[in-house]
Every structure is written in C-alpha cells, then in structure tokens.
Subunit: 335 residues, 2 copies
Amino acid sequence: MYKNKKVTSYDVAREAGVSQSAVSRVFRPGLSVSKKTRDKVMATANKMGYRPNAIARMLITKQSGMVAVIVSSRANENYPEVLSQVSKQLAARNKRVLLFTLDDAAGVDDLFEQIWTFQVDGVIALAAHFESQRLAQFEQHKVPVVLYNRNVPDASTNTVCCNHEQGIKQLLAELKLNNPQSYLVLSGPVDSDVANERREIALDLLKKSGEKNVQVLYGDYTYQSGRDCIAQWLKKNPAPDAVVCSNDTMAIGVIDEIRENHNIHIPNDMSVVGFDGIASSFWQSYQITTIKQPVEQLVKAAVDMLIEHIENADSPPEARVLTGTLIKGNSVKRS
Amino acid sequence: MYKNKKVTSYDVAREAGVSQSAVSRVFRPGLSVSKKTRDKVMATANKMGYRPNAIARMLITKQSGMVAVIVSSRANENYPEVLSQVSKQLAARNKRVLLFTLDDAAGVDDLFEQIWTFQVDGVIALAAHFESQRLAQFEQHKVPVVLYNRNVPDASTNTVCCNHEQGIKQLLAELKLNNPQSYLVLSGPVDSDVANERREIALDLLKKSGEKNVQVLYGDYTYQSGRDCIAQWLKKNPAPDAVVCSNDTMAIGVIDEIRENHNIHIPNDMSVVGFDGIASSFWQSYQITTIKQPVEQLVKAAVDMLIEHIENADSPPEARVLTGTLIKGNSVKRS
DNA sequence: CTGAAAGCGCTAACAC
DNA sequence: GTGTTAGCGCTTTCAG
C-alpha cells in the first residue's frame, strides 16, 4: 500500500502511464474518456487508494459543494426532524451540510466570518433571527440564503414558512366550539420571530372576533416555562377557558402543571392548543390539538429554492408558504 | 464597493501598496508584522470587503478545519442535545462540523467516499455501527476517528461511552427493591450496537443474580415500538413485574400503552425503567426511573480525544467510559 | 520585517 | 480522445 503520503492524480497518472488530466477526466462524471484509459486509470487508482481532493477542486471551480445550515438554540423542538431532512435532501442534491449552531447574538459576527471564508454555496437558516442588515450582507457577498420558518415582511429574502395564520385560525375555530369566555395566549420568547408572529396573529384574530378577555404571557418555548407560566398565572387569577400556546412543548408543560397541581380538567374545564405537531404531542398522555407542520415539504421547498438560486444567481427572491394540518387531539373538548 | 468579483489577497496588496505575502501574514494570527503594515492592510481589506479564502488555505496547509460528524438514524433520542454539544465544543476548538446523516447500510460506501475526498481533519460517529473493516479504513487514510457511545471490544479505536454496565446494575438494584418475580427486557434494534450492549448486560446481570423468569422483546427504539411490544406481549402473557427498556422513548411507550389499554398500575403493579435521561423522561406525566447520560462530559471527552489525535497522529487509541446518574423517578415503586 | 518565488492538487481551455 | 499548459488563492521558505 502507498500509505506514506496522500496519493495525487499525478501519482496515478505516472503509474498508469497516462497524463494527469486523463486521471482528472476519469473522476469527473460526464467527460469523454475512452473505456480503455478509464479502466486502466480506475484500476491503478483503486490499487493506490487514490481519492480526488475535493479541496483542490473547490479552489478551481469556486464551488465548495457545501451549504451552511444555521441552527439557533431558539429553534423549535421539531428541529431534529428538520435538520435530518435538510441533510438528507441536500445530500440528494449533491451538497454537504456545514453545520453552525448559534447560541446567542454574540456569536453572529464570528458566524458570518466563517460563512464567507468557507465559500459555502448557500445558506439555510433554521428559525434564526437576523437583523435586516445581516441579510443584506448575504446579498453583498452573493451567497444565496433561504430562511426556514420565517416570514419576512420585506420580500427581498427567500423564505419558506408554514402558514401560521391559517393554522391559528383553525385552532381558534376549534376552541370556539366550546364558546370560551377567557383566553390565555402563551407566547414564545420575544427574540424568536416565529414566536412573535404566532402571538400577534392569535391576538389579532381574537381581537377581530370580538374577544374581550384575552391575556398574554411569555415563556421561552420550553416545557418548564409552560409549567411556570400557567402556575404563576393561576396563583392570582381564575383559570382561563382556553390556552393558546405558541408551541407544543409549552402546551405539554401547561397540561402537566395542571394535572399535578390543580383540580382542573382538560379539556372539560380548560382547553389547550399547541403548534408544530412534534412527536410527543401525539403521545397518549397528551394528545394535543395542534397544527402539524409539513416538515418534509417545507424542507423540500427550502432546498429547491436554494439550489435554484445557487444555479441561477439572479432568480428573484421568493416566499413559499405551506399549509399545516389541524390535528384534533384531546386537549380541546369535542362535541 | 468592489462587488463584481471576489477580492483576493493580491487585490488588497496592490491597493495597500504591499506584497501579497504581507496580506497573508496579517490574516494569519501569530505572525510577525509591523503594526504599520498591519493597520494599513486591515484598513484596505475592510474597505474592499476582503475575506481570506479558507479553501485555498486548506489546500496548502492540508488541514480542512472540518470534522465529519456522522449521525445515524438509529441514534438515541438524545442526539439533538449531543449534536448541539458537539457543534459547540468543536467550534470552541476552531473546527467546523461537516454533517452526514446515515440512513441505512446502503449509504455507507458513499459516505466514506465523501469523507476521504473532503479531507476532513477527523470524524466523530454518533451511535453508528461500522464493520471493523470500515474502521480499518480510517487508519489507512490516517483520519482520526472517535466513536461516540460505543464500546468496541478490540481496543484499536477511540471510543467514548457511558458506563452501561454500572447504569444497568443500578437500575436493576432499584427494581430489586420490590422483589419482582418476572422481567421483560425490551431491547432496541439488533443493528444498534448500543441496544445490543444494553440488552446483553441486562440479561447477563439478571442471569447472574439467578432470575429465572426473564423474557426479551425487540423494539426499534421508538415510542410506537414500546407500545406495540408491550401490547403484543400482554395479549398472551401475564404482566411482568418489571420492564427493562433499552431507552427512555420505548419506556414512555410502554407506560402510555398500559395507561390506555390495561388495568395495570405503574409502579404499583409493574415497574418500568429506561435509559438515557432524555428531556421527556422527566416530564410530570412520566417521571421515569432511568440513567441520565452525562452528555456534556461525554462530548467533551470525544472532542478532546479527537483533537489530541488530530494534533498528534500517533497517540495511542483510547477508550473513555463515563458514569451516568441514576434518576429515581416514579416508574419504580419506592418504599 | 518584508517581498519574491514556488508550489498545494486539481480543472479547463487549448492544441494535437 | 489525449496531453500540455496555465492558473484557482493562499502559505511558506528563503533572501534581502
């Protein structure tokens, strides 16, 4: 075995008695090489354990074949599923995932530095919040970007989003069947764009339908915050008839808190709805009424858009909105 | 703005009136440049929007600064936490994560091709199963690798693992307090090394302590498989006194199935234990007795080992085993 | 401390 | 169809 140093296309060429570019051609699909040379090259390449060096290729083709995927810690609980889909679907398009996790605003500068230096072909941002000046940088550096699960008002960015409005409308309609007199909206954190959007839509719709008794609390999307919020609220206030949570995880927290510490029956005395359709929302012990996001299709849309913009630098920005599915669970009374 | 093409170190050099290597030096930390040149270069670089091209750097330094992280779909439910930790801790060591997801054995060939061509500095495999010949390839290609949550008998590979034996010993001791007469071991899938290890350890320990009535069922680590297995079992058999699940998710499934369809009380009539300590195992409605994996420390160990082997090619293979924490939940009766 | 020069391993014209 | 040649953008000796 030739293990002492990395074997290059030159080494293979010499050994096979062909030119270096012949070797290169053999390993670039779709280039015309005679079967004879191809076989000869392949044979010696295998013998020598040769693998083309993607780095060198990137340098010359100016395509890294890598897509930066940014995951913020504020991401929904369904992000593992999303990430796995993203990885799978990008792989199918012959792109690799360069993963970045974003903890707090502090890391953003560094993150962007990395993105530029690594010459990624594109960026998919999962539920992260970026200032609009940040988004402008992508354009300056000519790096296509798709925001997943975000709805940016000014339509200069590619976005893919679940239809929050329609979803929340359906959830509220479901709640209305029981004619609730008081609502509690349990919002996600204010630094999450998705949370803000869901909250505002809910408040807006409730207002439009003339509801007077609507209160808002702020959690941070976690189970514990769901528990804490409702516990805190019930210390000084009567139980609301309906609780509208910005995600399933908080809804689960609410349900557990009620079960443990309060003599309130869900759904008979109180209705709870969530959002996302995460795996545990379907578990027997919770069975939350929620909107299931069409994750696979959302990711497909995101990947399609990104590839389109990578291949065609001046295609116009696009926003795609997909509709989720109402899941009628047992956290809202059914007649 | 100089936006028409990527600006290179030559462009900056020309503009700043210095040599190209001067620019290079400025952007390589720890190299001696006079403050005057440094300032001048920095200023024009910023003005022109210059960013060093990491690809070119990789080509010459033969270090990509990337670590391949392989996630298999068989990974435990705690993988999001693990992945997030891995990403964070590698970032702290100035490495980027190139993420690969592995669905089935079919993709392995392709995966390995990618790993070689992308010249990654190292590999962390999360709960994936590789044949030993595969592992040998890493050595041939001189790519350091750390297996996370695997215990390979032949000690020629770097591994980091939670102490399954001690954990399961503790869980069984906890169960013993109620003097169970019959055990059901609910194993994960046979193509998961972790699952096999946990099952065998449990069976072994039970045998050693003289238990006669021990049955085994095979799930696939999912919630639904937990439900299905126990439901199937109870159709034809009496309820076991103790159920030992290979992960928390299946334990949750067991609990939910029992709650919905059987008149059996947990923990009074039946005890259930899990493994992993995933977030939902602590939820009020489950509170599983389980072993919480020390994820942060496990990842730290993995990353430390990997970096060590990247920097020091001939450090010897190492296996680190960390001990988990027994969580005394409510799925086992407490006296 | 600085600049000149030689590549890293490969791709992409371009002749033959 | 194949070989020759000129780089991609950077790091790294090596003189000065």
